[in-house]
């Protein structure tokens, strides 16, 4: 196989940037290879993608050294339109990539730009829609598709150009588990057709199944480069670099270490099952599967037959009955559009039920102002940019307190304390838009927590964050829970749910289909499948190995429940 891409000593600094984002990257990608790029936030992964597709240096201005060779030609000596025919790029947020109002028009758009004759265009649009399985969506409005469908449309519109190399920058970060799996299986199909695939991804469990090679980018440099087995098998090393290894690999690593086993570690679920059977693994503890529902005292939030219909007629909540109690850590899960965000918007009073009632601290939300609710319940958005509207870090945190009418000395004290708590101490006078995404997310959390709410609701707390940032946010939420506050998170990340939540609510099409402790919820794969949810990998391993009565929630728990030998 020949070389599809060769990058030699690539350095890049953005025009207004102080530091180099890429610092001497050397990378060769073979034709037909499936390469996964991993790395912590700010490592330069997206910048590398922009260099691969020619937007750097043709569209973005900055300082460039080294070379990117595509099919034997230096991208600097090619026109951008030439590069886009060879290298197709799909970005993280499909919504901002759509420029038309129907799926079919969206797929045809790049071909129109390249002046492809109409007869040829018709063939290519059909082929791209067929290969991404979106033919039945051709007349739909792209923005109203599910997350997975949107990304398939974005990929189809690039595939229509028949690029030899496909670059995807975190295409699954906003998707539910089934949406993620859809995209990965589609990429596997594309690889079979001989395309070179370069994928930036945080999810190592899916990447391990399909990648030929993984490279780790850190602080603008490639620090690890090898086969998935080699890279992911070095569990301690990749964890120290801020990457989550697959849970099954981590489990095998723990068991190998404690049992003195020295063998190649499994990196997929199927391999782990074989590995454990070969090692003579047996479960030393199973669960009775008892359904646990916390019911401690009066509920702080109650939904009584609450329904909500959007003005366009969409039934988003269908006669919901649920109580949330003081001091609970609840995760609300479900596929995109299942009603999770609508549910939490009812708690904070942004939406009022069209039928039934929602009570907060015993009072109907229809009889409370949002301001009144906000003094006791804090709501943190998924995108911090929607929540930061002041100029400096200090002002951002002080805003809510000023609205509450607190004195300046009290405000100063509270802001100082909360900024220390979220790790932003000393940045009080920094302009909010100059912060990194992780810092903005923590500031958004701080700006709500400073108001000392009894209930904290966080929508997708870790989307787009690396392992270190995710852990930092989740540990902060855990400490709030430890202080006796009620924490409610809305998330697609099943690993976080199983590790942190003590109660899980599963939603599907405006209904609650499961509600209980994580182990009980994750031991019902058939019901979860209805909601397009898959349990965490470690729980799936337990199910395959022993059965649904063996549902470990974390790697450490699984390691304590399994013995090797005999």
């Amino acid at each position: 196989m020949g070389e599809a891409v060769r990058i030699r000593d690539l350095w890049w600094r953005y025009g207004l940037g102080q530091d180099w984002t890429l610092k001497g990257v050397d990378l060769t990608v073979r034709e037909g290879e499936f390469l996964v790029i991993v790395g912590p936030s700010g490592a330069g992964k997206s910048t590398l993608c922009l260099a691969l597709c020619g937007l750097i240096p043709h569209f973005l201005r900055g300082y460039y050294r080294g070379e990117v060779i595509i099919n034997g030609r230096d991208t600097r000596k090619m026109r951008l339109s030439e590069i886009t025919k060879i290298v197709g790029i799909v970005f993280q947020d499909p919504d901002t990539q759509f420029v038309t109002m129907s799926v079919e028009d969206e797929v045809a758009f790049p071909l129109e730009n390249h002046g492809v004759p109409r007869e040829e265009m018709i063939k290519r649009v059909r082929k791209a829609m067929e290969s991404t399985k979106i033919l039945d969506l051709r007349d739909k409005y792209p923005h109203e598709l599910s997350g997975g469908q949107k990304q398939r449309v974005a990929i189809a519109s690039i595939l229509a150009l028949e690029p030899e190399i496909l670059v995807l920058d975190e295409p699954t970060s906003d998707l539910d588990p089934v949406g993620k799996a859809e995209i990965f299986s589609m990429l596997a199909e594309l690889k079979k057709s001989g395309r070179t695939i370069i994928l930036v991804e945080h999810n190592m469990e899916e990447a391990a199944k399909y990648a030929d090679r993984i490279v780790l980018l850190r602080e603008g440099k490639i620090t690890v480069d090898g086969s998935p087995r080699k890279v992911l098998g070095d569990v301690e090393k990749i964890k120290s670099m801020g990457i989550y290894p697959p849970q099954v690999t981590e489990l095998a690593h723990l068991l190998s270490r404690s049992n003195g086993v020295n063998s190649e570690l499994p990196i997929t679920l199927e391999e782990a099952v074989d590995w454990l059977r070969e090692m003579g693994a047996r479960a030393v503890k199973v669960f009775d599967g008892e359904h646990y529902v916390r019911n401690a005292g009066d509920p702080v939030i109650s939904f009584n037959n609450a329904s909500f219909v959007y003005p366009d007629g969409t039934l988003a909540l269908n006669s919901i009955n649920i109580d949330f109690y003081r001091g609970e850590f609840v995760a609300i899960i479900g596929q995109n559009g299942s009603g999770k965000t609508t549910l939490v918007k009812h708690i904070v009073g942004l939406l009022k039920p069209t039928r039934g009632e929602v009570r907060v601290f015993g009072k109907k939300t229809t009889e409370m102002s949002i301001k009144e609710i906000a003094t006791r319940i804090g709501y943190i958005y998924q995108n911090p940019d929607h929540q930061l509207f002041c100029q400096t870090v200090y002002e951002e945190c002080a805003y809510g307190l000023r609205m509450l009418g607190l004195g300046e000395s009290e405000i100063k004290k509270r802001v100082g304390d909360i900024l220390e708590k979220v790790g932003l101490g000393g940045l009080e006078s920094v302009e909010t838009f100059l912060l990194s995404k992780g810092q903005r997310q923590r500031l958004a959390i701080a700006s709500v927590l400073v108001m000392d709410p009894e209930v904290v609701i966080v929508d997708e707390p870790t989307t787009g964050q690396d392992m270190a940032q995710s852990l930092s946010i989740m540990n902060l939420l855990k400490s709030l829970h430890g202080e006796g506050r009620t924490v409610i998170i809305v998330t697609h990340n099943m690993r976080l749910v199983s590790e942190y939540a003590e109660r899980v609510v599963v939603m599907k099409a405006g209904n609650i289909i499961l509600d209980g402790e994580p182990r009980w919820v994750f031991s019902q794969p058939a019901r979860l499948k209805e909601a397009l949810i898959t349990p965490p990998q470690i729980t799936q391993l337990g199910h395959v190995l022993v059965g649904e009565q063996f549902s470990p929630l974390t790697v450490y728990e699984a390691a304590s429940m399994i013995r090797l030998g005999e």
Binding site: M101, D105, E112, D312, G378, V448
Partner: protein
Amino acid sequence: MSQRTFFTYVAGDSPLVRLHPLPKVTLLLSVNLVALIIEAPIPLLLLTIMLALSFKLLRVPLIGLKKFVIVVLIASQAVLISYLLGSSIPGSQVYYTYPWGAYVSDMTLLYAATMIMRYTSMLLGSTLILATTTSRDIVYGAAAFRLPHTIALMMSLAFRTTTIFVEDFIRVRDAMILRGANFSEGSILERARKYANVFTSMIVIALRRIMEIAYALQAKGFGAAPKRTYYREYKLRISDVVITLTLIAGVLCAYVLRYYVGFLAFPGWLPSV
């Protein structure tokens, strides 16, 4: 099957949805131009009623209008106040004279009402555009007018991103409300300051979105070929040409009647030209 437009969903067999982009764009532009030209109260009232009725005839969901009711009310108040406080329109009866020389006559009231009708009809016309047009109509309509594709795409993106920015605006405003801001309390200055906060955030969000859209356009080869091709093939029927020409003639006719004959001018005023 219903079709998604910039604004809402319209029944696929609505007469306007089935129209060729050329007469469709012409129709929608001419409605607004005519509303700008006419200054006589009765014809404007007729135009406003006709536009309101066309929502029903063209099977555009009335829910689309709901979002604009508040805008119409605010604009109407502003128009009324500006004419009541700062105009000097001669009439048969003067009700009040201000120290600064402006006065309120019977014609002031009639003129203010006429202007409210004008803005309402323009708003109804614009709502009809957003409620019945797709980006495809804009792009193909502009191509039929031989406008550069860049302009057509920018127009289409501007319409499409408007709805995205409105959603962003609502999210940021909600975030402020959740931190205790009350947009219906305080003096005009205080309210303006709160909205300024929303716009601070909106600017950052808009810049990021614009950058992402620009990346996507470049990655999709926008402007790559000297001559762009089109995926859809629209055949201009004789009926489409007749409708387009009739509409253009209608606008010209309104112009002549207003500025040369004075028929559509405000009563008692001389033609402007």
